[in-house]
Subunit: 440 residues, 2 copies
């Protein structure tokens, strides 16, 4: 079969990161980020268009300067569980921090979602970058970067172990033999590692996918390493065609070197397509979107989020870029390190640095429907991604993408016209993991 | 208005505690405890009958000897969120352990459920009794009893503080004034107590009920004290009319002495009504239910759960009752202490003790519909409860109770015939708590 594009819908509620002003658009419902009916409608629209998954991002620290979609948001699993019973095919991927949730709770909640959705749950594992979040969980200092990733790897391994507590056929419920559960098919994990000690077993039968799908968004060295070890889906940040291809090749190579099938690591590129009647109109629209939030104070606050929500307003804007290497290192963000390197090498002030990193950069998927479809096809053929994780400003933009761009991809045989599976693993071509206890 | 009875439905999935054999009943779906459609149908049936709430119990440790409904169960919040969008009036009360969930996560999840259900969420606060559960969360020893309750009280206080992060009118979303959020109406909690240090704010607007309703099931001295401090709904264990009235009076008195309105602590008595065409038939049925699980090995395992899931099979059954005072004390269960006292004073062996505490005790609500309705009315008038938290073995039993008993209560004016409110607080006559930050 030809390699086909996967599509996930990133549903934010009110606008996306940096979109402070979008709520003023009369087409945007002010309450969308806490309106379950809005999310259900988004999921149904994406399912109608045969998307692979609905993707729910998360964050856990705010102050009043944050963009609207951060300020007021439903907890991802609670949200997805409600969406599950109003959809039948689309995958449901939720973000949950491995740093602030016990493996036992994570295992239960995602296995429950997998049962409720009949095999459509995915866990986007994040380690929660900012010190603001750590203070919401009783820690003054955030866990350091290496600890956080080592812990994340072990966390995922424990969760997967708990998901295997029951073998697939552990519940014969055989009245004649008087056997509800087969005791030999229930297994305690008895994990004792560097970070976790978890006995188990999980009090939930093996879920329809065997195990929910693991997503990750590794960018730094340790993040990529974690992704190559455990991720089955990856949420990759955007960039130039060159940088994105390099990332793609790197992740696939790492997975291969760990003995994994690179096709079982499905890379979704984050994208915000801007589609209009003509290329010109789309680029004008794209520029308007940028200008609507072209406010330096907000940019400065947004900029600080690459350094663990650091407050940069305390520095002289026109003095040389401040020494924040420890913040970049602690939060482990490649972006922070890249910023510091460029500021140093080009001798930039704080103001110049912020401006340099918040310049207008249109999405590569901006233009008339044909242009966007062709760019998507080209990037896909160039192995920049296996799928796109698309976000839109308004429902109208989503509808336009679905009505005008998706059919062009379908015409080229690059996107499904019907679902062939009922599970997220099915859509993504991922195998059901064998239970570790099952006799082979 | 006349004082009216509240009704909650305890939905277990496959059978209740001690009901090992119920799964063999052809009327019981073997998969009910993980079948979201089964729960949705139960909730809709209860809503059709104008019940106040659906009540989801929980536990987090199993071995293969546990009764079916423990072995395989959905996580309560994931479950209730799915039920929320298929119901419109009924309250949704979920059990979550304050010992093994961070206040920030608990606050987010219940506030999310309150938004999703438009004001119907309730949190049943439990402290998780058994050492088995503690080993699922990396602890060898369970927190001692006093610590667990002190910690629970502070936990609830922190959660409530987080629920007040935003004032009710924090999001004007006023396009003309260009104000999405009113920064002065977002408040960090900055809690630093004996057990928790939580900065906040919560990233979720104040929910429809102001705060979800707090339920608790305090039996021991510390448990009653916690309940009197923070509970708005109480799940009380069954007993004789005398013991139940004493419990009721004690809780109301404690609440009053703490300056609370006793009407704002709504006491639900756990009950498993057995209804049949005649009193005689109902009692025969009740006896049959008991006999179906009258198995000493199972009784011994069940017995151990009053002592933190202690394994009593290691003792000589016919020797004097073993010294397990430390277990009763650690788990803080009044039942454990009561068992030890009786075993000592009557000089019972282990076998005799187990038998003494697992004797046949029919529900006081056993009989023909008229008999059951009258018993409920009598106990209610005698101030044994404000409401019943009823559980049934089969859907048929629930239907019979709804069709034959509820109308008799309605005829006496003791139960609503229509919903007068859309929120759980509304049903229970509980006020919406004022936000602590709001100018008075």
């Amino acid at each position: 079969m030809t390699r086909q594009i996967r599509l996930a819908l990133r549903a934010y509620g009110v606008g996306g990161p940096g979109q402070h002003s979008l709520w003023k658009d009369p087409r945007v419902p002010k309450n969308a980020s806490i309106d379950i009916d809005w999310y259900i409608a988004q999921a149904q629209a994406a399912e109608h268009a045969k998307f692979d998954a609905l993707f729910i991002v998360d964050s856990q620290f705010i102050d009043a300067t944050y963009p609207p979609h951060y300020l007021n948001r439903l907890e991802p699993l609670t949200l997805l569980s409600a969406v599950a019973t109003h959809t039948r095919h689309i995958g449901l991927v939720g973000t949950l921090s491995s740093t602030y949730n016990s493996p036992f709770n994570v295992a239960r909640r995602f296995a429950s979602l997998d049962h409720i959705s009949h095999g459509r749950a995915g866990w986007n594992v994040v380690t929660s970058l900012d010190s603001g979040t750590s203070r919401n969980y009783g820690l003054d200092e955030h866990l350091d970067y290496t600890t956080r990733y080592g812990r994340a790897l072990e966390h995922v391994q424990v969760v997967r172990g708990l998901w295997d507590s029951y073998e697939d056929d552990a519940f014969p419920a055989d009245v004649d033999r008087d056997v509800f559960v087969e005791p030999s098919k229930l297994h305690a994990l008895n994990h004792e590692g560097s970070y976790f000690k978890v006995a188990g077993p999980l009090n939930l039968s093996r879920s329809p996918q065997g195990q929910p799908v693991i997503f990750q968004a590794g960018v730094s060295e340790e993040g990529r390493n974690l992704a190559a070890h455990v991720a089955e889906g990856i949420y990759a940040p955007g960039g130039t065609l060159e940088s994105v291809r390099a990332y793609y090749a790197d992740i696939k190579r790492r997975a291969l070197s760990l003995g994994r099938d690179p096709n079982h690591v499905v890379i979704f590129l984050g994208a915000q397509p801007v589609v209009a009647a003509t290329d010109e109109e789309a680029h004008r629209l794209s520029r308007d979107i940028y200008e609507a939030d072209n406010d330096f104070t907000r940019k400065l606050a947004q900029f600080g989020r690459s350094f663990g929500a650091h407050d940069f307003s305390r520095y002289d804007l026109d003095a040389p870029f401040p020494d924040v290497a420890h913040l970049a290192e602690k939060s482990g963000r490649t972006r922070g390190t890249a910023i510091i390197e460029r500021a140093k090498s080009e001798n930039l002030s704080l103001r110049e640095t912020v401006l340099a990193f918040s310049q207008y950069q249109p999405s590569p998927f901006t233009g008339a429907p044909e242009t966007v479809a062709q760019a998507i096809a080209d990037w896909f053929e160039a192995e920049a991604f296996d799928g796109l994780n698309v976000g839109f400003r308004t429902n109208e933009d989503l509808s336009r993408f679905v009505a005008d761009v998706v059919p062009l991809l379908q015409k080229q045989g690059l996107f499904r016209t019907e679902y062939e599976h009922d599970t997220l693993r099915g859509h993504l071509g991922l195998p059901i993991p064998a239970n570790r206890w099952a006799a082979s």
